[in-house]
């Protein structure tokens, strides 16, 4: 036990020393104006003390250095046993204010915590990118700076201050309000906890590894509807059975969370040993399916592509609320049924990440010609340089 403890202590010291040489991410201690003045005073008084061998000056120097040490100790005590947790309530929508909550707990028994601030950052990223910057050793300087500038430009940041004392054992909740500017994946991070406590000599920032990755749905847009061009009820043989909760049973499927218990087919479940639910044909046939194509050849202008995403998201949401959205698909993906809110959210999540698809190889058709042959299919096409129109069965239904 003693060997382990000694080894632990040795490693602790090694870690502490190494952290001084190579501080961890966002770990910064910068002197403030007061700190610079204090350091300058210490240097001046120290020089005068050595020059004159005056013990009065040595006393003043000792006191200044002791104050600096006290400042460090109090700062450490202030942050000690302080716990925090990030609270984010999705969904996040582009252009709409959202609050990132931070739950604080002072775990100390006797000492309150004062004067902290928390630095947040929200950085867009693409799936598959590393959460932390890779080494820049191999990168060329100009590329590194350009990349950093780009990331900096896209990132949003802010800080929230703990305005009151956090008593021992006390809890507090802080909120950082920001507005995601565009759809996509957003990495929300608590970059660090800063403190000027106690005397404002040093600006101490302790880095944290706390981050959450959340999708930002496209911003809602306003659009025009065209009457008489909505989905129509198919007649005769063209009527297709689709999943619903009315009419005759058309199939059995696996139970999914959220399904009504009334739909469980107990006999079949007992036979197969897994929960199966009945699937009925829908009676309401005035529904439609969204098919969104993201071909870069069609949607060459980035602004128009963003508008497409917003338009598709808005339409999907409106149709779902009206109970008229049957399914949705993006490009060659399968049509995902839209039975529950979770289905819609999943579609919106995919919209959040969607990017223009590169042009297909020569000889391969693009656009609606490759689409599934089903009726009441809602498709999108550019309208002019900026606008977008939505079509159902070739009829213009809505436009931005």
């Amino acid at each position: 036990m003693s060997a382990t403890a000694a080894s632990g202590r040795r490693h602790l010291w090694r870690r502490v020393l190494w952290s001084l040489v190579w501080p961890s991410r966002h770990e910064r201690i910068q002197p403030t104006l007061s700190g610079v003045v204090l350091i300058g005073l210490s240097l001046g008084i120290g020089t005068a003390a050595y020059n004159s061998a005056s013990n009065i000056l040595f006393i003043a120097l000792s006191l200044l250095l002791a104050c600096l040490i006290l400042s460090g100790v109090l700062s450490w005590l202030n942050l000690r046993r302080l716990a925090w947790q990030l609270e984010i309530q999705p969904p996040l929508r582009a252009g709409q204010e959202t609050e990132v909550g931070l739950q604080l707990l002072n775990g100390k028994r006797y000492i309150p915590t004062y004067a902290l601030w928390f630095e947040f950052a929200a950085t867009p990223f693409n799936r598959g990118e590393p959460a932390r910057p890779e080494s820049t050793v191999t990168g060329r300087g100009i590329d590194v700076w350009a990349t950093l500038a780009k990331v900096q430009e896209a990132a949003m940041g802010g800080s929230v201050h703990l305005r009151t004392r956090l008593d021992p054992g006390g809890e507090a909740r802080l909120g950082w309000i920001f507005t995601p500017p565009r759809r996509g994946l957003l990495r929300i991070e608590l970059l660090g906890v800063g403190s000027l406590f106690p005397f404002g000599f040093l600006r101490k920032l302790t880095g944290t590894d706390m981050r959450r990755e959340v999708p930002v749905w496209p911003a809602p847009v306003e659009y025009r509807r065209f009457s008489g061009a909505g989905p129509r009820r198919p007649s005769g043989d063209l009527q297709q059975a689709r999943a619903g909760n009315e009419g005759e049973m058309i199939a059995l499927r696996r139970y999914e969370s959220g399904d009504s218990h009334r739909l469980i087919h107990w006999k079949a479940s007992a036979r197969t040993g897994r929960l199966l639910v009945r699937q009925y044909s829908a009676q309401n046939s005035e529904t439609c399916s969204i098919w969104l194509t993201t071909d870069a050849a069609v949607w060459g202008r980035p602004e128009q592509f963003e508008l497409l995403m917003s338009f598709a998201a808005t339409l999907a949401q409106d149709l779902f609320c009206a109970g008229r959205l049957q399914s949705a698909a993006i490009d060659d993906g399968p049509q995902s049924p839209m039975r529950r809110v979770a289905d819609l959210e999943s579609f919106l999540d995919r919209l959040a990440e969607a990017q223009p698809r590169p042009a297909p190889p020569e000889g391969r058709a693009a656009g609606s010609e490759r689409g599934p042959r089903r009726s009441n299919l809602l498709t999108f096409e550019p309208e002019g340089a900026r606008g977008i129109a939505a079509f159902i069965n070739g009829n213009k239904t809505a436009a931005t």
Binding site: Y50, S54, I56, I59, A60, L61, I69, G169, F199
Partner: protein
């Protein structure tokens, strides 16, 4: 569970910031009053301005905008004019500092202004400390540090309470809200409300921690001497007391004796060798003219004093006295630029390089400038006390006195013929009996003077023609030491003995607490040195001292015991001596000594601990190896059972107390509510609230302060009601 301790509002924090800033400024301004740089009036104005603004925080808003605009140029102009007119850099900078503090004190401050007053205040305190080396500095810088740290802490918390925004500079002419509603009484009540013993204890502990750490740093900071010394005191001139210049008039020494302040302290490495009535020589005066003694130009010449040295050590070339103790002098500023010395010495060491001149013949060490601070120096190889001072140079000159030229023979009497005759007349009664023995002559002349004149600090010199000293000699009027010394000087020269007057201090007290001499200005004295040809030395002749006979060690011990001071002032002075010994005089050697002492103490403690543990282990082992019989086993079992019982009671009792504390009784709010419930029969709503405070869960409590206020009101109305009913009946 979150506690319900109250918090200061942002406005209250701002008011506290204003208060602490004012205190910091006042502390800094107070140092100027004992700096002796003719800035008392300005310091008084600054202190008054800060005090008024402190009492009425809304007043600074009335300073017109043009006042703020003109303030800085006016201050700069004042500084430039001050420097030009006085030509003294440091006093001008101190006055500039005062003006800046005054301006900051009478205007609403932003955060950087608070920092500025801390820096300005620190400058004043450090300058005062360096220039005075006073013990007061230690107290003052500690209080200043506490207040300045408190101010910076409040500034940080206030900025945080405003969302990290530092307090911006107030709009000129507009009273900030916190200042408009300033109520010091309310602030102090709120401070009392929020103060918690744990916070106070932690604050006190941290402050003492700072002192301890700074003390440790003071000991550990590596010391090395740069020989390019920066003397801050060069920028300040200070006048010495007139009595210890190389030119004095009758009454100068007596005037010094009216002052009871401390002139210097002396540490002796071997107190057993401390003399009982030391004569601390400072200046030799060989010329008398019309009531004034001076050091003659010939004696001031380079032939006697040699060139000026700039060194930290003075080696005289004397062999020194074998086994002589080391003497450390702490000479206060304003006493003299001549250093007090007992006799011939080997080495004199200053703490830092000094500009000085040394005369071996006169045994004088004269600094070039009047020391503005306490001057510490150590003298090694100095005879404890001797009533004779060998002077081979003068002996040679005296033997060759027939040869003209060379140094003065110190026989000259600058008196008129009538005065010379009068002196000769007085001397005639002594000289024939003494013959050529200088010692005998000095004793006889002193006895004669003592028989004719009483000692008095208020002498009377008869009116008339001629030299005043001769008139006094011829009378039977009382006189002080200068008159006695002057008379003996004239008599000796008249009788043909070379003589000179020496001024300095005589005696002093022995501080029983710090074990050192303390010499006060009231010990100032003048005496005479007469050349003794037979011994080839100058003999000390003090006409006010009876014939020396106390030479035995017993007499010496008695005399030392008689001068021992055990008063309260000695106690306080011992702290000052400690300050000088351990702090002001701390140098590289002291650092090494201290570290060695710490190492020895640690080694000794370790050895003691090891031996104690080994001893305890041996005792325990011996106890176990002792014979075990039934009675012993029974005794042991009984003791173990008793210990277990006591432990169980303690643990169980503690657990119960802790459980009670967790629940009810430790909480002051619950306790107070319980007290009100037992003595109050108030309205049901109040009782319900009190019961909720007493027994309910803390989150459901009503505001305790309100409930207790209502309870107090109910109790008062309950007391009034019976008396009212009695009066109506």
């Amino acid at each position: 569970m979150e506690t319900r301790r109250p918090r200061l509002s942002p406005d209250e924090l701002q008011l506290l910031r204003w208060l602490l800033g004012g205190v910091v400024m006042l502390l800094a301004i107070a140092t100027v009053f004992y700096l002796d740089i003719d800035s008392d009036l300005l310091a008084g104005i600054a202190a008054a301005g800060v005090l008024v603004a402190l009492a009425r925080p809304a007043l600074p808003a009335r300073v017109p905008v043009w006042g703020h605009r003109l303030a800085f140029p006016a201050i700069v102009l004042f500084f430039a004019g001050d420097l030009w007119l006085t030509g003294q850099l440091l006093p001008s900078i101190v006055r500039l500092d005062l003006l800046l503090l005054l301006y900051r004190g009478v205007s609403h401050r932003a955060r950087r202004d608070d920092l500025q007053i801390v820096v300005l205040g620190l400058f004043l305190i450090v300058v005062a400390g360096v220039l005075t080396v006073s013990l007061l500095f230690a107290a003052q810088i500690l209080v200043f540090t506490a207040c300045a740290l408190g101010l910076l802490l409040v500034v940080t918390i206030a900025a945080s309470s405003e969302g990290g925004q530092a307090p911006k500079l107030a709009v000129r002419g507009v009273v900030p809200l916190w200042a408009a509603h300033a109520d010091w009484g309310r602030l102090f009540r709120r401070l009392r409300e929020i103060s918690d013993w744990r916070i106070v204890l932690a604050g006190g502990g941290l402050f003492f921690g700072v002192i301890a750490v700074s003390g440790l740093l003071f000991l550990m900071i590596p010391r090395f001497q740069l020989e390019n010394s920066l003397f801050l005191e060069r920028f300040v001139t200070k006048k010495a007391m007139t009595g210890f210049n190389d030119s004095i008039k009758f009454g100068d020494i007596t005037e010094i004796t009216q002052d009871d302040g401390i002139a210097f302290d002396v540490d002796v490495s071997d107190p057993a060798q401390a003399p009982s009535r030391p004569y601390w020589r400072m200046i030799v005066l060989d010329q008398y003219h019309n009531g004034g003694f001076t050091l003659s130009p010939g004696m001031k010449s380079r032939d006697v004093f040699g060139r000026e040295h700039t060194e930290a050590n003075l080696r005289t070339g004397s062999d020194g006295t074998r086994g002589a103790p080391t003497w450390t002098f702490y000479l206060e500023s304003g006493v003299s630029r001549y250093l007090p010395i007992l006799g011939r010495f080997d080495v004199l060491r200053f703490r830092e390089a000094q500009n000085f001149r040394y005369s071996f013949d006169l045994l004088l060490v004269a600094l070039r400038d009047e020391p503005a601070t306490m001057t510490a120096y150590r003298v090694e190889g100095m005879a404890p006390d001797s009533n004779q001072l060998s002077d081979p140079t003068f002996a040679r000159r005296w033997r060759n006195r027939a040869v003209p030229g060379g140094l003065s023979l110190q026989l000259k009497l600058e008196l008129s013929a009538a005065d010379r005759a009068a002196v000769a007349g007085v001397t005639a009664g002594v000289a024939p009996a003494a013959g050529t023995d200088a010692g005998a002559f000095a004793q006889a002349a002193s006895a004669l003077l003592r028989s004719q004149h009483a000692y008095s600090l208020s002498p009377h010199i008869p009116a008339g023609l001629g030299d005043p000293l001769v008139r006094w000699m011829s009378s039977r009027e009382p006189g002080h030491c200068e008159l006695f010394a002057g008379a003996l000087f004239l008599m000796a020269r008249s009788a043909g003995f070379p003589a000179r007057v020496v001024t300095g201090f005589k005696g002093g007290t022995w501080n029983a607490y710090s074990g050192n001499y303390t010499i006060r200005n009231s010990d100032a004295h003048a005496w005479v040195e007469i050349w003794d040809e037979q011994r080839g030395a100058w003999l000390r002749a003090d006409p006010l001292e009876a014939a020396a006979g106390r030479n035995t060690s017993a007499d010496k011990a008695d005399a030392l015991a008689g001068m021992t001071d055990r008063s309260w002032s000695a106690r306080i002075n011992s702290i000052r001596v400690f300050w000088y010994r351990r702090i002001v005089n701390f140098d590289q050697q002291s650092q090494v000594d201290t570290l060695r002492a710490i190492k020895n103490a640690t080694d000794n403690s370790g050895k003691w601990l090891r031996s104690a543990i080994a001893g305890s282990a041996a005792r325990i082992k011996g106890w176990f190896l002792g014979p075990w019989d039934g009675a012993r086993i029974a005794r042991m079992a009984g003791a173990a059972a008793a210990a277990a019982g006591v432990a169980w009671i303690l643990v169980a009792g503690r657990w119960r107390i802790a459980a009670l504390g967790r629940g009810r009784r430790r909480d002051p709010v619950r306790r107070e509510a319980g007290r009100w419930l037992t003595r109050l029969d108030g309205p049901p709503a109040l009782v319900t609230d009190l019961q909720r405070l007493r027994y309910g869960a803390a989150p459901t409590w009503p505001r305790p302060a309100d409930v207790f206020r209502r309870a107090r009101q109910a109790a008062r109305s309950g007391r009034r009601r019976p008396s009212a009913s009695r009066s109506t009946s």
